[in-house]
Every structure is written in C-alpha cells, then in structure tokens.
Amino acid sequence: MIRDVLLVARKDLRLEWRSRVGVGQVLPFALLCVLLFAFALDVDRGVLQEATSGLFWVVVLFATVLVVQRAFAIEADDGVLDALRLSGLAPSAVYLGKVVAITVELLALEVVLWLAVAVLYDTTLRGWGLLAATVVLATLGAAAAGATYGVVGLRLRGAETLLPLLLLPLLAPVLIGATSASDVALGRSAGPGWPWAAMLGIFSGVYLLLGSVLFRPLMEDP
C-alpha cells in the first residue's frame, strides 16, 4: 500500500519536475496575487501588515485550485485514467499518492510565498513552531479535500471550471483556522493558537479518511 502511494506520488512529482507547471505558472501567479493585494489595499496605512496571514492563505487557496487542477490534468493524458483503472492499483493508494504530491508542491510554494510576504508586506516571521504546524496541517487538509474533487473534473467533462465553486466553500474552515493560527504565531492577535492548529488537524484527518473511501467509486465506477 505505502509502496503504491509512493509510486504514484513519485510519478506525479517527477511529472511536475519535468513540466515545471507549478514553478513556471502557479508560483508566479501566487506572487502576482501578493502584488495585486498591495494595489487594492493602501500600502501606506498598514493594512497589508494587518492582513498578512489572511491574504497569504487566500493566495494559497487559489494556488490549491490550480495545483489540484494540474494534478488531475496529467491523468487526462491520453487515456491514463482508464489505464489506472485497469492497473489494479488500489484507488485509495492513487488518492493518497495524489495528496502527497499536491502537499509537497504546495509546501514548496508556501515557503517561497512566506518569504515574499515577509519582504513585501514588511512582516517579521516568528512563532515558528505554531507557524510550521499550521502550514503543514492546513496544506494537508487543502490537498486532501482538493484531491477528492480533482477527480470529479476528470469524470465529468465540463466540471473543470466547477472546481473552485466545489472546493473553496469546503475549504472555508481551513482558511479561518489557518489565518487565525498564523495571526497568533505572527503576534498579530492574542489568544491561543494551538486549538486552531488542532482544528486543522481534525479537518485533514476527516477529509483524508473520506477521500480514501470515496475515491473508489469516483475513480472506478464504470
């Protein structure tokens, strides 16, 4: 099982490394968003500093939509979804492999994005423990929910444009939790931060479990 998960994840990451869609398209888009927020919100009144965590996580959610779309677009290559169905790989292994790959790609993107935000929004990064836990758990949750919906776009032609509508409301708790926890970590708001991280952990756990089970009918139903 773990062998198959890694097989799929490695394949996805190798494809990403070859095509550089994440580095060449998603990352520049995310940086562009960081820039656009500065134009939309007055740069001189400290709004950006105030809203750093929120803006950061909104950008991450947008990037998640794109990364998920890409992760499943590669399975639309010349009939490979059928080949996966014929291969005998457990659907849950395919699902978890996808989650791993999407998580790794998003984490890489988030590291760069935090640096960009720190420089451009004049934010000092701190509260490392909480920040790291938040980043990992929120990303895992977004990937877990995203991978389940990504395959929907594969099964239904015309559903690709639906992905944001399906995925983003589901990720509203992730946005709330991740923003609140990051605010605490960065010292922008008082109050406990770890309960938020715990909520993100529960979200990830629930959706990983649901995704592993529900991916089977989504992928395999004739």
């Binding site: 015309g158 639906l162 399906l166 509203a172 649901l210 139903d221």
Partner: protein
C-alpha cells in the same frame, strides 16, 4: 391547451399511448396523499401567518422582530433536514446503487437550497431591523451562506450532462463531503466570531418561550417540515418521470440502433 370533453378516467389520454402499446405514463406528480399534504401545508402557512403576525405578543427582548423568527427557524431547520436526507440518500446510493436514492438526494438538496435562500433572506431582513444593516458577520448567517454555496456546487454538478450512473456517483460523493462539512464550518465560524459577541438570530427554538409564542414556534417547524415533504415528493416524482421519459427515448434509440445493424446485413 384545448379542453377535452371526454372524461379522463378510465381512458388514458391518447398522447400517452404509444403505438407499441406501452402502458400510459402518469400525467401528474400528485396523488391523494400529496394533495392532503399540500392542503395541510398551505393551511398551516395561513395559520402560521395569523399566529405569527397577529395573535402572538411582541417579545420582551426582541420586540416585533421575533415574528421573523417564526419563519427563520423553520426554514433553516428544514434546510438542515433536507441536507441530511441528501446525505443519507447519497450513502444509500453508493451502497445499493438504486436510482431511487440518487433522485431522493437530488430532490431534497434542491428544496434545501431553496430553504437556505429563504433563511438568508429573512435573516438579512432581521439584521436590517436589529442592526440597521442587512449584513453583519453573525456566525449563523455566515455559516448558512457558506453552506448555501456548497450546495449550489452540488446542484451545478448535477446539471453537467453525463451518464445517469456517473452523475449519481459523483453527486453522491459531493453530497457526503458537503454534509460532513456542516459541523466543521459551524465550529470554525463560531470560533472565528467568538470574540465578537453580538445579538444573534436564534438557531433553534428558544427554551424561554412560553404560551402562544412557543406554540407558534412549533407550529412553524411543523408547517415547514410538511411543506418540505410536500415539495420533495413532487420534485422526486418529477425527476423519476423525467428518467422514465429518458428511458423510453433510450428504448427507441436501441431499436433504431438495431435496425441499423439489420440494414447492414440485408444487402
């Protein structure tokens, strides 16, 4: 539409009898039971209006705005019932693979979305009166709006043309994911607004209520649950008949396809 002077029963309308002698399809989604259910719901709405607007006294704290609650609480409750029905239908579809559960889930979700829209609407009216603005980030209303959008996605997926089976499977999965998200969203939004205590529109019947107020609150719940059942049954039957019509055209398509094969052999 022309009026047919001949009695309808027992002769089926000629349009429904195909040359191959199939049984006539039902021409309506109503039955005795639904007519009774419909009459009860409509009478109940009238009674609710009378009780809610005239008979009950204004509330000690909420004043006249409590009257909105007699509708707000039932609509949101019925919507949640609807989404639970959708989730149960979705699970049972994935288990039993029967069209019945799929169509029930779909019908229920449609009515649920309608009720959510009503909830948001009357919640905003309440906000305008209470706060002076249509919208504040009141947790219940915020949650409702997020979930409303979630279920709009569910309905959008169902409109994508595909095979009946794929549509059923995909929407069943979404129906399950969406319902699991209800408590999570609730919790997250509650915590998020935790520091901002503000006057909230009640999510449930207030235990402090007494007398006609309490009666009206429960009357509202009953009436809207009846209305929900009535709408879902009709919507379900309509969906069922649509599938039967599809099946007929499929039968014709299969016959045409076979004929194609025979022609191929003939020469």
């Amino acid at each position: 539409m022309t009026i047919d002077p001949t009695p309808v029963a027992p002769v089926a309308p000629p349009v429904d009898v195909s040359p191959s002698g199939r049984r006539p399809a039902p021409t309506s989604t109503s039955s005795r039971a639904t007519r009774i259910l419909g009459a009860l719901s409509l009478a109940g709405i009238v009674a609710l209006a009378v009780f809610g607007l005239a008979i009950t006294p204004p509330d000690a704290q909420l004043g006249e705005t409590i009257r909105i609650l007699y509708m707000h609480v039932p609509t949101v409750s019925a919507a949640y019932v609807a989404f639970i029905v959708t989730a149960v239908g979705s699970v049972l579809y994935l288990w039993k693979r029967s069209e019945f559960w799929d169509l029930l889930a779909a019908s229920s979700a449609e009515v649920g979305v309608l009720f959510f829209a009503l909830t948001i609407f009357n919640g905003m009216l309440w906000g305008k009166i209470t706060w002076g603005v249509f919208w504040r980030w009141e947790p219940r209303l915020t949650t409702t709006t997020v979930l409303f959008l979630t279920y709009l996605g569910y309905l959008a997926v169902r409109r994508i043309p595909t095979s009946v089976r794929t549509r059923a499977t995909v929407s069943a999965v979404i129906g399950i994911l969406a319902v699991v998200n209800i408590p999570i969203t609730h919790k997250a939004v509650d915590w998020w607004r935790g520091l901002h205590q503000e006057k909230t529109i009640f999510g449930t019947v207030d235990p402090e209520m007494q007398g006609t107020q309490l009666f009206t609150a429960y009357l509202g719940l009953t009436v809207f649950l009846l209305l929900f059942a009535w709408l879902v049954i009709h919507r379900f039957r309509l969906a069922w008949l649509t599938e039967r019509a599809e099946e007929r055209s499929l039968d014709d398509a299969i016959a045409a396809r076979r004929a194609e094969g025979v022609e191929e052999v003939a020469p």
